[in-house]
Symmetry: C2
Subunit: 485 residues, 2 copies
């Protein structure tokens, strides 16, 4: 194994010589994905000397997705971070609003279920690559920020605050030193692995996989470049034990995702092994979608099947030297459309703690984890709830009645009522945990009152609001007493 000398902190970490002087500390960021590039931008704005090492090539120069660009759901918590760094208007140019779920039932009927009863509340489809490129451009405008590509982190020595890298092109191995290392290297984080394997402290860690995997497919644009199905919605084909979804892209296409069990059921990823059976499956379960996807079997066999995992861990930091952020600390399944938003919110929370305790990194890291982890644990659990809701409950009558009541409550009482979905998605000043507790209690109240005939969609809406509020408070209070809190 060939290793270069460890570079000195003052000289070599930031090869372009961008040290702004004694007051500025050298921060090494591992990973220039969405979270890492936003972090680099913000820390650059704050005057730190920032070096970012990314294992992939520069996505602005090389088409690394090797196919259609993946899109993501972008909403208010993410946008709060864009406002913090002052690029919300530029990001807005990349967004396609989605006002609700467009449900495609087994008979080919469609109906739209809006995300909110308030017109200004909607989510957006955004290109991962486009947004990442913008963040890299913005970060690089700061002369105290440098980004290096094709450098894969293989481990971090968190006691020495050094990281080991391999250059993909030269195959050279080298070690970088810094005052602070922040790993934003995603669900497979090399630094988190070093925490786990190092056994230098008690590291609580979980990786948890759903029984389902996913595969990306596509609906191509019309010959004239238009959208084959309604542009401004998140399309869902719920089929109880599996589902298909589609999000629009700016070029008129949709990125389609199939969520399906690896092993269970008549059709699963393990037995969809040839064109005939894939077509049979789609013809039987998604005939309307199949009609839009002449390219189905090509996509199906070219694109990988990927697992759906949740990662939780603690502590996120070691002393005041190294810190995990974004998916590296808390990867979640995609069903609440909050993965990117949660990582962006990390930066907002981190920035606020930095304002309070600047200069004392150990306290910054401790306070950040203390205030933040309860919320990222909550969104992880909410995302798994939504997996079941999306494939199953959206087509369930009592669930649909609940949604109707909630839409009416949000429309009539825009300041007094927010559904769980709204609390999570559109109320960026409420933490995920509080949104989860209140949202779950509201759901329980409405479902039980509907089931018991205590409320009905035809009741006076003010009466419904009062009953829902009272029952929600009673549920929260009962839980509080039972927990002896």
């Amino acid at each position: 194994m060939i290793e270069k000398e460890i570079k000195s902190k003052s000289e070599k970490v930031f090869p372009n010589g961008k040290d702004l002087g004694g007051a500025s500390q050298n921060i090494l960021i591992i990973g220039a994905g969405l979270c890492g590039s936003l972090l680099a931008l913000r820390l650059g704005q704050r005057g730190y000397n920032v070096a970012v090492y990314e294992m992939r090539p520069d996505l602005r120069k090389v088409d690394i997705s090797a196919g259609r660009s993946i899109n993501l759901a972008f909403s208010d918590r993410g946008n709060k971070a864009m406002k913090l760094v002052g690029i919300d208007e530029k990001v807005n140019q990349l967004c396609i609003p989605m006002h609700g779920r467009m449900i495609h039932d087994a008979n080919g009927n469609t109906f739209q279920s809006n995300y909110s009863g308030r017109d200004h509340e909607y989510i957006n489809s955004i290109s991962r690559g486009g947004l990442n490129a913008l963040l890299l451009d913005e970060a690089e405008q700061h002369k105290n920020v440098s980004i290096y590509f094709n450098k894969k982190c293989t481990s971090v020595d968190f006691e020495k605050t050094t990281a080991r890298f391999t250059d993909y092109r030269t195959k050279e191995e080298f070690i970088e030193d810094a005052d602070i290392i922040i790993a934003t290297d995603g669900a497979g984080s090399a630094m988190r692995k070093s925490y786990y394997l190092g056994k230098k402290f008690l590291f609580s860690f979980s990786q948890s996989y759903l029984s389902h995997g996913y595969k990306e497919l596509s609906i191509l644009p019309k010959p004239n470049g238009g959208y084959k199905i309604h542009k401004n919605a998140l399309h869902i084909w719920p089929r109880k034990s599996f589902m298909l979804i589609a999000l629009p892209n700016l070029d008129g296409s949709f990125t389609v995702t199939l969520f399906l069990s690896y092993d269970d059921g008549e059709y699963n990823f393990n037995n969809l092994t040839d064109e005939k059976i894939v077509l049979e499956f789609f013809q039987k379960e998604f005939p309307d979608a199949l009609a839009l996807m002449p390219n189905l079997t090509d996509d199906f066999f070219e694109n990988p099947t990927a697992p759906l995992g949740t990662i939780k861990c603690s502590p996120w930091h070691y002393k005041g030297n190294t810190l995990l952020m974004g998916d590296a600390a808390h990867a979640i399944v995609p069903f609440y459309g909050q993965g990117m938003n949660a990582s962006f919110e990390d930066i907002v929370e981190f920035d606020a703690v930095l304002n309070k305790h600047k200069g004392d990194w150990e306290t910054v890291f401790q306070e950040y984890e203390k205030s933040r982890k309860k919320d990222t644990d909550a969104i992880a659990d909410l995302a798994i709830d939504n997996f079941h809701e999306m494939k199953d409950h959206v087509a369930n009558p009592i669930f649909q009645e609940k949604r109707k009541i909630e839409m009416a409550l949000e429309k009539h009482f825009p300041k007094e009522y927010a559904s769980k979905y709204s609390l999570v998605t559109f109320n960026e000043d409420i933490g995920y945990r509080e949104a989860m507790l209140r949202g779950r209690a509201q759901d329980k109240a409405i479902l039980n009152m509907l089931s018991d005939g205590v409320i009905s969609p035809s009741d006076d809406i003010q009466l419904i609001l009062d009953k829902v509020k009272n029952e929600t408070e009673a549920i929260l209070e009962d839980d509080r007493i039972a927990g002896l809190r």
Copy 2:
């Protein structure tokens, strides 16, 4: 690295040549602790050709505890397994009944809180070493069972069904082959590590540590060999954020355990670094216990501080070749006194599945995990709940009122009412998960009705029973509707 040839299945796995013929399969068990030795005994009784490899020396020949033997809580689920293998009467000789918790408050007052309102329901203190020795003796009486000590498993090749070992004395490395490998090698399982590191299949895994660690101490017998405090109770000194407990041994001593935070609070494991501060801590918080422990500081600095971890994982098996059981699959914290009992219950469950699907190991392993994992997940969560209950709630007035009501209900209606503690501990025919769901709903019902003045300990007991039953059903039904199950 020196390696011997892989031994052939028929000849060398079981060096004593105990193959009983073609119908008998070779089963390799890794670990001869409580779970592994019971499994060896049961599989020996069933006629399998069993070889057990244990990393430690034979505890019947060497005093490996290097101090006082550790004791454990033994109760009905564990005893069901002892009945299965026909040694319950021998085990009974090793037991010291504990009828309840003896609470020692901060002022030195004591009061006993029984585990059940039914006189025949109590738990037992038992020596880990004594019980393990009995199980080894019983297993070795079967000529188709062989046990090898000082052989540490370092990894398992689950695709080839082979395990690699190091002999502690000769330092020799060797590989053993078998038809089936079952790992009962505890919380640090080598085979589980091979599952995790192998990345051959999606392996969900969590290790989760409490903020507290523990340290074993002791109360020595009186000079005449008698017990210094009441023999037939589990003693607790609850102090909200930490606690001390003591369980009796047959020799008149008590094994005492301090549960304390590593970092938080005025006194913690990180700052109890010299005799003076340890004595100051005990003098302030546990003066009555200190008076019984002239040997305190010796014990404190001789014995290690150990972490409190929960392990969950899935799948427990790879195809029909290898299987994790006991702590290797589901290590839990000790606060429900169910760790050993849960591992023993594993054997009962496994044996029942084996009766159904004998000969088809893959189905046996799948069915076993399917029926068992929900229950071991539940006892893991219940054990963490009890951590908070024991150090805090047992001294809480509303909790004490609930316990009084439950004791009265169990006494008056022995066949109609069982508390959560009874459901978990004394109702071995109800799974842990059902015990958890029903027990938590009952607790919530009683605590809320007490808090709201709907019931009071002075009410007619039949009236209380009716209200508790109705409210418990209502809570379970509300949860069912909210979960849309």
